[in-house]
């Protein structure tokens, strides 16, 4: 891997460059995050990249221009990665700050208001914390976040003097960047005892073998579900004594009613008190909201003459319930004329009905707003 003058493929370009030392994994373009080399090889290529031209390659100007492009390419890549790193660090910092604040306020709440604390309030704080942890996880798992595992923090200068800058940045928690502070703050491995325990656990787990482990997992799941069933059964039996009236926070029938109202106006449309109704409308309160539903948004299949007249006539009968006597006769005559019309298409029928009905409406209503009348026609 580290041989001098090794021919190596760079940037998948296919060009082979001699005289370049590469201290890295063979494929510098690996996108496999698990490979320890990612994304380091680029850096080392870059650092050793200003290479000595080889006399056996193409003419010097060509070679120099090519390496220039290659170097700038790498430079841009590196810049982009640094920007990504900064951005993800910022996001992480703000998330952690939020989490810290909510933890702090929760602890304050527990300490100061212990006497009058209610369970819903505690649940709220827990929900808040869980939400923030979720977002933190999401930020870490985001595809634009570089692998922090590949970055290393090395202390360059340790001094026992107070550092005001550091004080400010850590909000007064770390006054001195000295030999006692560094091992705690910059550690990347757990305590030796904890590490030992973890190693013990992993060897135990490996020792058991895959099949036995599966069996154990299944039995654990079964036991948990049995337990859950028992608990829920117990809950149900105890609640039947009527201990739960105030626990309901939502009503499923209400949910359905509200969703239906928003989706297609069930319970909302065409419900008008009988005094102020308009004429000729098939959805009058006598019929209730069911007919309103059918005339409104549901598909009315009008095929053939007899069935065409049915909805209209039934509408008229409904209209009669709340209307003065003059209207129905007018409508009936119109329907008769419509039924004699050779073209029995539904749209024509409706259109033909609409015009004479409108005239009737105007005559009857007189002073009422034209707009209202047109609205109520439908």
């Amino acid at each position: 891997m580290g041989k001098r003058n090794q021919l190596v493929e760079v940037l998948g370009s296919g060009k082979r460059l001699k005289g370049l030392r590469v201290d890295a994994v063979y494929n510098p373009n690996t996108t496999d995050r698990k490979q320890p080399g990612y994304p380091m090889p680029m850096r080392s290529c870059y650092l050793t990249g200003v290479c000595t031209p080889s006399p056996w390659l193409f003419s010097p100007p060509f070679y120099v221009s090519y390496s220039f492009i290659w170097v700038t390419n790498l430079f841009l890549l590196v810049q982009r990665e640094e920007k990504q790193l900064e951005a993800s660090l910022d996001a992480l910092l703000s998330q952690v700050a939020d989490l810290k604040n909510s933890l702090g306020s929760f602890i304050c709440k527990l300490e100061n208001e212990y006497g009058r604390l209610t369970w819903p309030s505690v649940l709220d704080s827990f929900a808040l914390l869980s939400g923030q942890l979720n977002t933190l996880n999401k930020v870490l798992k985001h595809e634009k976040t570089p692998l922090f595992r590949n970055q290393v923090i090395i202390p360059l200068v340790l001094s026992p003097d107070r550092d005001e800058d550091l004080m400010r940045q850590t909000e007064g928690r770390v006054p001195v960047f000295s030999h006692e502070v560094v091992p705690d703050h910059l550690r990347t491995k757990p305590d030796p005892e904890v590490e030992e325990q973890e190693k013990q656990l992993t060897t135990d787990a490996a020792r058991i073998g895959a099949d036995a482990a599966q069996k154990q997992i299944q039995s654990l799941n079964k036991m948990c579900s049995n337990l859950l069933e028992k608990i829920s059964k117990e809950e149900r039996e105890s609640e039947s004594g009527g201990l739960r009236p105030n626990k309901q926070t939502f009503n499923p029938t209400d949910t359905n009613a509200l969703v239906a109202a928003v989706a297609f106006g069930k319970g909302l449309s065409n419900w008008r008190p009988s005094g102020s109704s308009g004429p000729g409308q098939p959805g009058q309160p006598g019929a209730g909201t069911i007919l309103a539903g059918t005339s409104g948004l549901q598909q009315v299949q009008m095929a053939g003459a007899p069935s065409q007249q049915q909805p209209m006539l039934s509408g008229v009968q409904m209209a009669q319930a709340g209307q003065p006597g003059k209207m129905p006769s007018g409508i009936k005559t119109n329907i008769k004329s419509a039924s004699m019309h050779p073209y029995q298409r539904p749209s024509c029928l409706v259109f033909i009905l609409a015009v004479p009905l409108r005239c009737k409406v105007k005559k009857l209503l007189g002073q009422e707003e034209k707009k209202n009348a047109r609205l109520q026609l439908w």
């Binding site: 819903p120 709220d124 926070t249 009503n251 209400d254 949910t255 359905n256 319970g267 909302l268 299949q301």
Partner: protein
């Protein structure tokens, strides 16, 4: 006497959407930015030359929706929890008047458009919305998905729609709170039935519950959004059950 325009307009759906122009305008009730369509109804003239009308190639936006409800007495706890979980901003209340217009054509199913105006924010534009049929089939998708087109318009929207041949089917007043988390919008509102048509002062509550809606407007194909929505809904769990409710089942 005004002439009623014949509703016998073939292909009206496409034409109606084509005559509008596209440039980004924030969604009316404070949700995330979506590309909205603005058409000047007053002067019926096109915006300045720099904005060319788009007759095609607009992104198909889908609305992902989860709904639930909460009883009046539990509203406070729900609001408290939402304030903690959602983005930190001033609690936003809204009072909207929504009218649903139908255009009955030769096709069996009428074309539905929803016009919404803000009653407490003066100067806010009217909001016109088209919602398609919910996409069925994928059981793994946790939210209701339907095609959605949002347009901000001027105040003479109702006149324009009446001239086009639309008729108002029903209307209601929605009053409640609005929260936001990333691209997710959470609305908790009460629906009021309007007793006298056209008069928004005489209203009566439809039920003793508030409707809770979790919605996201995103380009088509991003199903990962529904997973995020489900995770958020889990956090509201014992207070309110947000689930995918098919409106056709309730007809």
């Amino acid at each position: 006497m005004r002439k009623i325009l014949s509703p016998r307009v073939r292909g009206y759906r496409q034409d109606f959407l084509k005559i509008a122009q596209v440039y980004p305008v924030p969604y009316l009730t404070g949700g995330s930015e979506s590309s909205c369509v603005v058409f000047n109804l007053d002067t019926m003239e096109a915006p300045p030359v720099t904005m060319m009308p788009v007759t095609g190639g607009t992104i198909n936006m889908m609305e992902y929706l989860l709904q639930g409800s909460v009883l009046d007495h539990s509203l406070e706890s729900l609001i408290h929890r939402l304030r903690g979980l959602c983005d930190n901003m001033e609690p936003e209340t809204f009072l909207d008047h929504e009218m649903v217009f139908l255009l009955k054509g030769q096709q069996a199913s009428p074309f539905v458009l929803r016009a919404r105006r803000s009653m407490d924010r003066a100067g806010a534009p009217w909001h016109l919305r088209y919602l398609g049929q919910p996409e069925m089939g994928d059981k793994n998708r946790h939210a209701l998905v339907r095609n959605c087109v949002d347009i901000a318009t001027s105040e003479n929207l109702t006149d324009f729609l009446m001239e086009m041949g639309f008729r108002m089917d029903h209307e209601f007043v929605a009053k409640g709170h609005l929260f936001r988390k990333g691209i997710m919008k959470i609305m908790v509102y009460k629906i009021f039935r309007i007793l006298v048509p056209g008069n928004t002062d005489s209203t009566e509550a439809l039920s003793l519950s508030y409707l809770v809606e979790l919605s996201v407007v995103a380009p088509a194909g991003q199903d990962v959004v529904s997973d995020d929505m489900k995770n958020f809904a889990e956090q509201l769990k014992p207070l309110v059950h947000l689930e995918k409710i098919d409106p056709k089942r309730l007809m």
